[in-house]
Symmetry: D2
Subunit: 158 residues, 4 copies
């Protein structure tokens, strides 16, 4: 059983046709998982739906507590890319003894040409194969949380 | 560097609007990889573009030879799902000392709601993390080649 | 009120992931109309779901009878492109005193890059503006039924 | 020959993955027209790429001048929905003796589930069939410019 913690981020953004802005009316993860024909046992929980630039310390504590409380040893966290590394660092402060993979997307799932499903495939595979620790999967790569940063000019993780 | 061997299968099928049938005018893997924003170094080679029900022994020998000839230790093979296990078995006859992951899709990349990109994410992550051997990634799961079969009634790998 | 008669054709085809063939499990017209945000009053009726190459004379009689029986003066018929002109000719034998527009698609709605919604927009607009008669809308053009043929080599109506 | 004047609006918005906002790097109309398999002769001209809430009087004068200067008698204008009616009114001040159809979308073409192509189908058909005047096509309906308003709470034209 894998725990999926949903926190928002670009992957879950969609277009609000009443005001022309992007928003988070609800998570699209169940729809995404259905599309993938994924047969893993996944326990999903929506902690918040936020742009990661707007995440507060209270939000990160909430994520950390959810990781601690989880009975599952394997956790995937969907997260905005801008502060994904910061949250990973936050989680690393606590000895969690679990495999935790943070993942997001550069383009919302709901927008044509999105990287969302590919990234989810990376995260759900990595979480099954990696030893305990905190990781980020983006751009097809698997990073230790403390050896990666987002290059915001290029829009890629290095 | 990861070697990508392309052999066809549902993942690469598209609609021929002149006769209303599905065909393989060319591979969509480069387009898929671009969409994923994948930054892995990938060496792609198209061996054939076939429905896997039409693969001959000569085709499987060609795939085997390409695996042997590859300088890369990590190989992903896109393949039709119907005989994916058979090709995996074929590759297992030869001691290859490489990590080989076979992957396909239930729905073509070009069709809305496809599982293609998710499956690619699984395969490219698995090939980076697994020891030598021959594997299949479908439905979010990672299988040893000799412990899986396609349930053609359900359309899932078990 | 506009009557929508659904007969199948490429516009409604989708991929059967169990056998890799295209089929018609049910019509996608309600889903298409929802996507278009169309606010016309439309009365939809599925007469059949067939590739138009497989339509029989009995099928064309059924379409004709549905046109005669319709209380609405404006009818849109979704139809396979291969014999769309033949059905139009069939309908022209009977003095119907209605505006009837036949429309289809070169690429199924369910396949990325489809012309289905554009064509529907053409048909539903044409049926509101044209006088009594039988018409075909494809490729952005409006044709009198007896001045058009499908160029099957080019895949366009002329 | 139909003149297509492009001014921006939701129909042409896309997601900027570097900053997570919607922007207008360039028009998608050529891509849209290719997808529709439209065989009309269309002369496209991009006047501006703007959210219609940001349009100035200078912008509307520019649109008006382009309508006057056009040799074509049939014009389609892509436009943001929020001030589409205002621009239509502006055009009506001048006796243009042309058929002009304004059209936009509630959801960008680049976002899954968009109404863009349907609306374009409506506009290109209406412009061929309507007498001189200024019209708006949205939600499958054809409106005289002075008998319509956007219901911003419902997101529909009435």
């Amino acid at each position: 059983m894998i725990k999926l913690l949903i926190t928002g981020g670009t992957i879950d953004k969609c277009y609000n046709e009443l005001n022309g802005e992007l928003h988070f009316p609800n998570t699209h993860l169940p729809e995404m998982l259905q599309q993938t024909r994924c047969r893993l046992e996944i326990q999903a929980e929506t902690l918040m739906l936020k742009d990661s630039l707007e995440m507060t310390e209270a939000d990160r504590i909430k994520i950390q507590q959810a990781c601690i409380a989880s009975n599952e040893q394997q956790l995937v966290i969907t997260h905005g890319t801008d502060t994904m590394v910061k949250t990973a660092e936050y989680l690393a402060h606590q000895p969690l003894n679990k495999t935790i993979v943070l993942v997001g997307a550069m383009l919302p799932y709901k927008i044509g040409g999105s990287d969302a499903l590919f990234n989810l495939g990376c995260a759900f595979t990595a979480v099954q194969l990696l030893p305990q620790g905190i990781y980020i999967t983006m751009n097809g790569k698997i990073f230790d949380w403390d050896k990666v940063r987002k290059d915001t000019e290029m829009g890629v993780f290095k």
